[in-house]
């Protein structure tokens, strides 16, 4: 598996552009929130993430890539699941190494929590 920058851009850009176009045509009232996370890569407390993942069963074998991850999630891809699995298999989590992947995975958890809450109507 390899990373294609052009392909990634196509995926990332296709979504917003098509939404902007349809919103303009249909006169929908939308807002785009551009969020800035503070020091995203060095603010995560690793121990907390590992504890939370363990509690929720994220670190069990075969759990990654199951139904909990929505297919609508942009970050969910076979490559992502492969990377997370190999990351865990190497035992790097236990060494307390903080890497961007932890951050991305953490965002994915948040994204799924958000989706679940929105679907069940929790406000």
């Amino acid at each position: 598996m390899s990373f294609s920058k052009a392909e990634a851009f196509k995926i990332v850009w296709h979504g917003p552009l098509s939404i902007f176009t349809s919103a303009t045509v249909q006169k929908k009232e939308l807002v785009i929130l551009k969020l800035d996370f503070e020091k995203a890569f060095d603010k995560i407390e690793h121990e907390v993430i590992i504890k939370e993942w363990s509690t929720k069963g994220f670190l069990k074998n075969g759990f990654l890539g199951s139904g909990l991850f929505s297919p609508q999630g942009l970050l969910l891809s076979p490559l992502m699941v492969y990377q997370v699995r190999s990351f865990i298999a190497k035992g790097e989590l236990d060494k307390g190494i903080l890497c961007p992947l932890s951050y991305l995975f953490c965002l994915q958890i948040y994204y799924n929590q958000l989706l679940i809450r929105l679907r069940i109507g929790v406000s």
């Binding site: 990332v12 917003p16 939404i19 902007f20 807002v31 800035d36 996370f37 942009l74 991305l104 948040y110």
Partner: protein, 135 residues
């Protein structure tokens, strides 16, 4: 709060875009969720640097929404992943940052290069910038 596939969340590293209906109720609920997420992970949203960009929203309503979310009011086109993002064809004005970037590179590097180096620089770097910008 209604979620449909028309209003996705787009994340690339720490650049996050959320596209949603212009509703203060939804924004209020989202802010509560983000605060919970910050408590859980330590990842706080910097509202001073975040912005809310309207599409077909009247200015008065937009002011109210920005006040609800406590962030600044933005407008299209805005920069995402280093490129201007808009629903319209970019104007010449929108492409000025690209011109500035090319100029800056030419001035700062070309005086140190030989003729062959300059050619290599233009072929491999300078010509790629507009291609990336207009992809």
């Amino acid at each position: 709060v209604g979620y449909t596939s028309d209003f996705p969340i787009i994340q690339d590293a720490d650049d996050t875009l959320m596209i949603m209906e212009a509703s203060s109720q939804q924004l209020f609920a989202l802010k509560a969720l983000l605060n919970t997420f910050a408590d859980f992970t330590g990842l706080k949203v910097n509202y001073a640097k975040s912005s809310i960009i309207p599409i077909n929203v009247p200015p008065k309503k937009m002011q109210h929404l920005a006040a609800t979310f406590h962030c600044k009011d933005g407008e299209l086109p805005f920069t995402y992943l280093g490129l201007p993002l808009s629903h319209k064809k970019p104007s010449a004005q929108d492409c000025l940052p690209l011109v500035t970037r090319v100029e800056r590179r030419l001035i700062s590097t070309l005086i140190f290069l030989s003729q062959g180096g300059k050619l290599q620089m233009v072929n491999s770097v300078i010509s790629s910038l507009p291609t990336f910008y207009m992809c």
